[in-house]
């Protein structure tokens, strides 16, 4: 025999305004094993919780039912309340008489009152069979994997390593630095890109907690948050070698959390046939110009025409080349182009003061601290000619690359005979990002960017627990934003690692080994990949860390060997029986 106490909440007028609370309390007092029932204005308030605790002790209750709002609101609250008074938290149940009775039947007060009484009756039947449970404690491997050695990956690795946890940093190329190493300079920052980046690379390389594996790829990811197993393959050959694969060295790590920072590619300019991308040597993309502008680049920092090596006297930048073009290319804004075009055009004007720099733009998007002022400087101090309008066509004739466009402010079509045209091509995810996403069970959007868990409130988490996102692999973003997101991802890793162990709710599925026939039906039924066959016993087993207690396995199990703790088939039947 249990000693059940029921606490009926008014929720102000939310419940009491519709239900006849006195009738409810009177009725439920008569239910089996109920030794006490009372109502109160706000059960979740401090005095309300105090009332529960007092009566647990006074009436020697060993199970508590709170008839109130949805369990997603306050189940945890009341379980803690009961626990404080010495009852196992899993002996506490919620009977939802707000969302499922008072709110939805406001005009049928008598029927709503009946429904509330019947709802509580079923919960009483369930509570009879509830067991006292303990949460599961799972081991937590406090080592993290960072995929991608660009600025995002390095920042995340440094933040985690500085906090004292080991990091494995895997980079596809033969060096750290990523795309940032290809840049000549940074906007708003007069230093060459190489200086701040070099410091980061040095810090990462020398950090005792960071193991850098270059020329490597992730080949397999198994396990789950806190307990991933990751297989890595490293090529030993240098890229200059004849055999690009060389010898493959395998690595295997136990990993607790993963940060994905695989970065971006530029949308291939060959896709932009209307601008002669890939067709005319003097039509280049933004990174090609960065290479020229880099002091250690092939031209020693000088801007020259690829076709004849001459200094261009007339340069045109075409912004939104492939971006914001839902009909033919990418619908999104690539975000960094407005700023780097301003930087490049100023660099050109400094090199060739009598040259003409023209920028075709749709809008200037310069949202950031000092960004707008920076673009204004290009226009006003460096005489870069900004033309509001999209370029329609680029073609090569008479030794020029001619740009056709329109100035939408004057409404006139425009022709510029340029020597060199730079296409600010769209930013796209790395070609292999989708495959990596599948390996990590992280979703990608229609463009191949990795998807965040929530666009507003969980921007650095993926929907897979323990996998976090940083940098342009998630969406185009510039360096400060990338660094901020990388630190955000690192702090998510650290808050995970700050736990002693991983705690898992015990209200999940289990398999009765006596009843399981090993038919395997539960394995495909599980939406969380939490089911598998035991290696040699030929029965199904539950992965405690992955199970969410949804009960899909219990539904398909023909032998009733699969059950969810505190929501067994027996409990459900007894609830139905009580109701009928």
């Amino acid at each position: 025999m249990k000693r059940i106490g029921i606490f009926v909440c008014h929720c102000g007028n939310n419940i009491a305004g519709t239900l006849d609370i006195d009738r409810v309390v009177e009725a439920i007092r008569e239910f089996p094993e109920v030794v006490y029932a009372i109502d109160y204005k706000y059960m979740c308030s401090d005095p309300g919780q105090q009332l529960i605790r007092e009566h647990i002790l006074e009436d020697q209750l060993d199970a508590v039912i709170v008839a109130a709002c949805s369990p997603s609101m306050h189940e945890t609250t009341f379980r803690r309340t009961a626990e404080a008074a010495g009852i196992n938290p899993y002996q506490t149940e919620i009977a939802n008489i707000r969302e499922q009775a008072s709110w939805v039947h406001q005009k049928q007060q008598e029927a709503a009152t009946n429904k509330a009484i019947e709802t509580i009756r079923t919960i009483v039947a369930k509570a009879h069979y509830n067991q006292s449970l303990m949460p599961f404690y799972l081991p937590l491997v406090k080592r993290s994997l960072v995929i991608g050695g660009g600025i995002a990956g390095m920042q995340a690795a440094l933040d985690i390593a500085d906090a004292g946890y080991p990091v494995v940093l895997v980079e596809k190329a033969d060096r750290l630095g990523g795309r940032m190493a290809e840049l000549s300079g940074l906007y708003l920052d007069s230093d060459a890109a190489a200086d701040p980046l070099g410091q980061k690379i040095k810090a990462v390389t020398h950090h005792p907690n960071i193991q850098v594996i270059t020329q490597a790829a992730i080949t397999e990811v198994g396990g789950y948050v806190g307990n991933f197993t990751v297989q890595i393959e490293q090529r030993t050959a240098s890229p200059a070698d004849q055999d690009p694969a060389g010898e493959l060295v395998p690595y295997s790590f136990d990993i607790g959390a993963i940060v994905v920072a695989t970065g971006y590619d530029l949308y291939d300019k060959k896709n932009l046939g209307e601008y002669g991308g890939g067709r005319y040597p003097d039509v280049i993309d933004g990174l090609q110009l960065e290479e020229m502008l880099r002091p250690d680049g092939p031209t020693g920092g000088r801007i020259v025409r690829p076709s004849d090596g001459k200094v261009p006297k007339e340069m045109v930048w075409v912004q939104c080349a492939g971006s914001r073009d839902p009909e033919l290319h990418k619908p999104y804004c690539s975000k960094v182009c407005c700023m780097y075009v301003a930087k490049q055009s100023m660099a050109y004007k400094q090199q060739v003061p009598d040259g003409q720099a023209t920028v075709f733009y749709i809008d200037i998007r310069s949202q950031g601290k000092d960004y707008e002022e920076y673009v204004q400087r290009a226009m006003e101090e460096h005489d870069v000619l900004y033309i509001r309008g999209k370029a329609s066509k680029v073609f090569q004739e008479n030794g020029h690359v001619t740009v056709w466009g329109v100035d939408t402010l004057t409404g006139l079509p425009l022709e510029v005979e340029a020597d060199l045209v730079v296409l600010a091509t769209a930013i796209v995810p790395r070609a292999d990002a989708q495959e990596l996403g599948q390996r990590l069970r992280v979703g990608t959007d229609e463009h191949g960017f990795l998807s965040e868990a929530h666009p507003k409130l969980r921007p650095v988490e993926s929907l897979t627990a323990g996998v976090f996102l940083a940098g342009a692999a998630h969406f185009p973003k510039d360096i400060p934003e990338t660094v901020a997101q990388a630190s955000g991802a690192a702090s998510k890793v650290l808050s995970l690692f700050s736990q002693r162990q991983m705690v898992q709710e015990p209200t999940i599925a289990f398999v009765d080994p006596e009843l399981c026939s090993g038919c395997g039906l539960c394995i495909p039924a599980c939406p969380y990949d939490a089911r598998s066959m035991h290696e040699w016993q030929h029965i199904a087993v539950v992965n405690t860390a992955l199970c969410q207690g949804c009960g899909a396995c219990a539904m398909v199990c023909p032998n009733k060997a699969c059950r969810v703790r505190n929501l067994t088939q027996g409990q459900i039947l007894s609830m139905m029986e009580a109701y009928l």
Binding site: G273, E274, G276, R279, F395, Q396, E397, N398, T402
Partner: protein
């Protein structure tokens, strides 16, 4: 290979020479064009306001007629091609509107026919190499600029069988005929289309930009597959000398005219007399060069 052929109004009247040349040269390379019986107007412009269903009735009627004859309908008029191709795709993809059109024209058609431009068929079904093998009179040393206009290229996802920005099918055909294709930047620019009706000076400016670019690239002749482009490019040159000092006109050919010549066919009925810039001296030169 027998295939249903839709001539359209232009090729039946002002473009009769284009039509004659298409039929003769296609036959010479093994493509037997069978005129669609009882055909009607293609609709002439693809309705831009798509909910005006009535405008799709005429092209749909043509497609229904073609279904009786075979699986492919071909046409040489690029406007007819554009209208028929897009109507067919629209019928394929829009179930509700398809039902309305069918109710209106009393048919049950779901877009089964494949609409193919004749140039597309020459390229993929006959093959330019096979055509090259049949050339009797290679158009040696003739520098030809190929002009495609817009109707077979745009919108690319609906009609294009070639790169919409840098098309090559006409260039490859003239190369197969022994001529030298010259690359120029305005192969796919607008010829002015119907603007000539309103203000010829606009069309003239547009045509000049195209032809200047072609001639700068060294073209002695221009070849096209579009009757409206041929008309604009050809006619505007008559007045061009007044607007642009020192302008030298170039003859504007239909690709089928050059094909007939190169295949050694009888070319008398190819409509030479309708050209504004007389193409006959160049034709004569080509014929003499061969003998």
């Amino acid at each position: 290979m027998k295939v249903s052929y839709f001539p359209g109004c232009t090729l039946n009247t002002t473009g009769k020479g284009f039509d004659n040349a298409v039929r003769a040269s296609a036959a010479a390379v093994g493509l037997d064009l069978v005129e669609l019986p009882d055909w009607n107007c293609c609709g002439a412009t693809y309705p831009l306001i798509i909910d005006n269903m009535l405008e799709l009735a005429a092209p749909a009627h043509v497609l229904v007629a073609a279904q009786q004859e075979g699986s492919i309908l071909t046409t040489a008029c690029s406007t007819c091609y554009n209208v028929l191709k897009r109507t067919n795709k629209f019928i394929q993809e829009h179930e509700e509107e398809r039902d309305r059109i069918n109710t209106f024209i009393e048919a049950e058609y779901a877009g089964e026919v494949e609409v193919k431009d004749i140039l597309h068929m020459l390229r993929d079904d006959v093959g330019f190499e096979a055509i090259a093998d049949k050339v009797q009179l290679p158009l040696k040393d003739l520098k030809v600029a190929s002009y495609y206009g817009c109707m077979v290229l745009r919108p690319p996802n609906e009609v294009a069988y070639d790169d919409p920005d840098h098309p090559t099918s006409l260039d490859d055909l003239v190369a197969a005929l022994g001529a030298t294709p010259v690359d120029f930047a305005h192969k796919n620019e607008c010829c002015g289309a119907y603007l000539a009706v309103k203000d010829e000076s606009i069309t003239r400016e547009m045509v000049y930009a195209i032809l200047r670019s072609a001639q700068n690239a060294g073209a002695e002749a221009v070849v096209t597959n579009c009757p409206l482009c041929q008309f604009n490019l050809d006619k505007q040159q008559a007045e061009m000398r007044k607007s642009y000092a020192g302008y030298q006109p170039v003859p504007i050919f239909y690709f089928s005219q050059l094909m007939g010549l190169a295949l050694g066919l009888e070319t008398e009925d190819y409509g030479w007399e309708r050209h504004y810039v007389d193409a006959r001296p160049l034709v004569q030169k080509l014929l003499e060069g061969a003998s």
